[in-house]
């Protein structure tokens, strides 16, 4: 098949960018979307041009590196599919495809389709963990966890941190990402001690990073390649509200009796 691409080119964080047109000819419908870009890039390199930069790694939909707006839709037209798992059979011969980077204040463009998503790491660092230093654990079967809770925790934990939810959200909110981590850990007995503290700190970090507020458009769950439900946002809001009301205070110092 033959396609026309309109690709966002931007040489650096501080430069202006714009759409540039490329022909993608002799594309096999069995290629993945990224393999199609590989073909275009290899031809550019052969001509001595600078290829289109894009993040990618595992190419099996799990590392979360890839992601681009394809005809205005995060990860393109296939539901529950990351860009690397999207195949060209989803398009028709002669199509024009517009490819842009994630657009969000908290994800500045680095180059072409590559954006800076380090804000996600900082949200996790703010509290997206269970403090269990190595060596401190008891036997794994000592706390039974109802299968339903373990399954729901796994549904939320499936997030790959790609950022499609932010890119799809009209407000540029990171609520689906943050809610997914708060739900994953908050559904498990091991996550209870830090549950409310976690909700407060992660939500606070989300605001510091410049993500927008959530007004429940629901675009995020439609774009999520792992089809994480916006129920996780309700859960985050419940935990946050309860935490804000009860304000888990932290005792500083003291303690020891020797």
């Amino acid at each position: 098949m033959n396609l026309t691409l309109q690709v966002w080119r931007q040489s650096g964080p501080a430069s202006d960018g714009g759409l540039k047109e490329y022909r993608a000819t002799d594309i096999s419908p069995d290629m993945s979307f990224l393999e199609m870009l590989d073909v275009v890039n290899e031809r550019l390199i052969e001509q001595g041009d600078v290829p289109i930069a894009f993040d990618h790694d595992c190419r099996e939909g799990i590392c979360g590196s890839c992601g681009m707006m394809i005809n205005g839709v995060a990860h393109g037209p296939s539901r529950g599919t990351a860009t690397c798992q999207l195949h060209m059979r989803s398009f028709r011969d002669g199509d024009t495809i517009v490819i842009e980077p994630w657009r969000a204040r908290a994800f500045p463009v680095i180059k072409d389709l590559v954006v800076n998503r380090s804000a996600f790491d900082r949200i996790v660092a703010a509290g997206g963990f269970i403090s269990a230093p190595t060596g401190s654990a008891q036997d794994a079967n000592s706390i039974p966890i109802p299968k339903q809770d373990a399954d729901s925790a796994m549904d939320a934990a499936a997030c790959i941190g790609c950022g499609a939810c932010v890119a799809a959200c009209p407000n540029g909110s990171a609520s689906l990402f943050t809610g997914a981590k708060i739900s994953h850990l908050g559904l498990l007995p091991q996550g209870q001690p830090e549950r409310y503290r976690r909700a407060l700190s992660m939500v606070a970090q989300m605001d510091i990073e410049g993500f927008g507020g959530c007004t429940l458009f629901g675009e995020c769950q439609a774009a999520c390649p792992k089809e994480i439900s916006i129920d996780v946002i309700s859960r985050m809001n419940r935990d946050f509200l309860r935490a804000a009301v009860t304000k888990p205070s932290e005792r500083v110092g003291g303690g020891g009796d020797g």
Binding site: D55, R59, S78, R89, F120, T134, N141, K147
Partner: protein, 640 residues
């Protein structure tokens, strides 16, 4: 000069070695730990868990990854599970049995002491991960569920749907982020290690290129850990992520770290077959599928073009069940892969090009219902359908072997230290625990054992027993290493030839797959050793890399990695040629039993081959570490 390969396996009975060693190792007192800086390269299961744990202990840690976030390391893609000798199923498992299965699975080419420790630690890993919130699969009673993996007759594999690696890595990543927030770990994402800095014979730092600015700088420390994964991408097509590379371990090799058993590569039997020339990587279908899927090809060549549903039961050859009745579809990977190759070589392969076999779930769906199968493997089935546009609930999957894992790696002793003092190597990057073939669900186990439980202790012993001088940033060794990297980078950019990096990489991959893949022979290996240097020479004469070194330049990054693969590939062939036997993943067609199984030569090859760099253009030196078996009897591996 030959190296002294002292494996430092503690004396005494097998079961007490690790305990005894832990007591005998020196400790760094808590107040002194913060005076030490440790570099960890790689943020996967081994690197991420090591960095987090070292920081918990109080060390200053600097952790590096080439991806934009430590959460994206390729451990994330591991699907099926992690082994542990918990014996929760009461099916006869024990530490001794996991130890024996692993040694046997590796075709008796791994160290007893290391593997026994791995089996012991396996139980702690599961405890640790559950405490961190890893949502392992559970039964209705709330207890942990298990499944079976190849090479074992017990159910000891813990799993989180088909995303076990993801969940374990997120556990380690979250612990790492916790330590980053506390200030114990400084994280350097989008940073690539391009050389090792050795001062007075000890590893004291690395040279790093910032991928965004192109800046090349030295980073100094008291000890260095490489947890940079395997080198399967030397084959171009593999199940590895596109960025996986051997540069860190190859640079360390060229600075004096011995490279052990480079020819031991694992070809995984169940991957989605190649669809065409454009193929950029191969996708694994988890081994766990062989719990319920049955592998077959038509008995007769005439039937290969038929739709699988039109081939009646009596005309199907369930060849694994036929050849290996006691392990059946759960035979180890090397054996299942070779059997698939034989069936296809025999003209009975299915799908385009005849390079495929069926993995059929019809029986399991009849027995358990589609819902139960969806619950177990739903995400894998969806992935398969997305890639092939075929529905595996209705028609059997088509699968074919693909490069998946490398058992070889930098040589390490029991403390996971390489032949360069202060340079430690963890996870797939080292050679230590899997012998000539890794069993399924053992990579995650080894990565986390190394990172959570072994390295944090053994590095302390190294630091406590070594007097380290301060290294000034302008030390001649530091300046020389930086200058080497700068020279190499500008040399790559200045070739300005005509062929793309990807074209060279594809050609190398074809040579490696053809001559150093699932079956090898002396003539083919010699041929590859002629072709690879020619290709390497052409690369340095005709490669083209647009753009500059002072910006994000993904082609330049790829070029550096391919340049190293072009050297490593030759060493792999050299190692495969010298090992005149078949063992595990290394199958020399000259050495096989009458029924086509790997024929080992224990009298002459029961050793680790540790190759030592001797300078460019010179033949590397072969050093041998004999493998001593005091607790098990070497035998012909049988899964019949």
């Amino acid at each position: 000069m030959t190296l002294e390969l002292n494996a430092r396996i503690p004396a005494g009975p097998l079961a007490g070695k690790w305990d005894r060693h832990r007591f005998e190792m020196k400790l760094v007192n808590p107040a002194n730990k913060r005076k030490y800086t440790i570099i960890v390269v790689g943020s996967g299961l081994a690197g991420g868990s090591a960095a987090a744990t070292l920081s918990e202990l109080g060390y200053n840690v600097r952790c590096y990854c080439y991806q934009d976030s430590p959460r994206r390391a390729h451990s994330i893609a591991a699907q099926g599970g992690i082994n542990a000798a918990k014996n929760y199923q009461n099916d006869g498992d024990s530490i001794q049995r996991l130890f024996y299965d692993t040694i046997k699975g590796g075709d008796f080419r791994a160290r007893e002491g290391n593997v026994y420790r791995l089996a012991q630690i396996s139980v702690n890993i599961i405890d640790q991960c559950v405490a961190q919130g890893v949502p392992f699969a559970r039964e209705y009673g709330g207890l942990l569920a298990n499944r079976s993996f190849g090479g074992a007759q017990v159910s000891r594999t813990f799993y989180a749907r088909g995303q076990t690696g993801q969940q374990l890595l997120l556990g380690a990543y979250q612990a790492l982020e916790k330590e980053i927030a506390k200030g114990g770990v400084t994280m350097f994402p989008r940073a690539e290690m391009l050389d090792l800095i050795v001062v007075n014979g000890r590893a004291r730092g690395i040279v790093v290129r910032d991928e965004l600015t192109g800046k090349i700088e030295p980073h100094l420390a008291d000890a260095v850990v490489l947890a940079t994964g395997g080198y399967g991408n030397v084959f171009y097509l593999s199940t590895n992520a596109k960025g996986c590379n051997a540069t860190a371990i190859w640079r360390a090799y060229k600075r004096g770290a011995a490279f052990a058993n480079p020819c031991y590569t694992q070809i995984h039997p169940t991957c989605i077959p190649v669809a065409g020339e454009h193929q950029s990587k191969l996708t694994l279908m988890s081994e766990s599928l062989r719990n319920d899927g049955r592998v077959w090809v038509p008995k007769r060549k005439e039937d290969v073009g038929k739709s699988p549903t039109d081939v009646p039961e009596q005309d199907r050859d369930y060849y694994l069940e036929r050849k290996y009745p006691s392990f059946g579809n759960l035979s180890p990977r090397d054996i299942a892969s070779r059997a698939a190759k034989e069936a296809c070589d025999d003209g009975r392969g299915v799908g385009p090009g005849g390079r495929g076999v069926y993995l059929d779930f019809a029986d399991a769906i009849r027995r358990l219902g589609e819902d139960r199968i969806r619950e177990r493997y739903g995400n894998l089935f969806e992935m398969y359908e997305r890639i092939t546009a075929e529905n595996p609930y209705k028609v059997p999957m088509r699968i074919y072997p693909a490069v998946h894992y490398t058992m070889g790696g930098l040589w390490v002793d029991y403390n996971l230290m390489s032949t360069i003092p202060g340079l430690h190597v963890a996870g797939e990057a080292n050679f230590s625990d899997h012998g000539a073939n890794r069993l399924g669900a053992s990579a995650l186990m080894q990565g986390l054992a190394d990172g959570y439980f072994v390295l944090p202790l053994t590095i302390g012993d190294y630091l406590a027993s070594t007097k380290l001088e301060q290294v000034p940033p302008d030390d001649p060794a530091v300046r020389a290493a930086v200058a080497d990297v700068e020279r190499r980078t500008s040399r790559l950019l200045s070739v300005k030839g005509k062929r793309t990096v990807a074209a060279f990489h594809r050609e190398l991959g074809k040579i490696m797959w053809e001559y150093c893949g699932m079956a090898r022979d002396a003539a083919g290996l010699r041929k590859a050793m002629e072709l690879i240097p020619q290709l390497r020479e052409e690369f340095w004469r005709d490669v083209t890399i647009p753009g500059s070194g002072a910006e994000l330049n993904q082609t330049l990054e790829h070029a550096g990695r391919v340049a190293d693969f072009l050297e490593l590939g030759e060493l792999m062939c050299r190692d495969a040629l010298h090992r005149e036997e078949s063992c595990g993943g290394h199958f020399r067609t000259e050495h096989q039993t009458p029924d086509g199984e790997a024929l080992r030569d224990d009298a002459n090859f029961a050793y680790v081959a540790a190759w030592e760099y001797a300078g460019d253009g010179k033949e590397p030196v072969l050093n041998r570490e004999p493998l001593v078996y005091e607790n098990i009897k070497l035998s012909q591996r049988s899964y019949k």
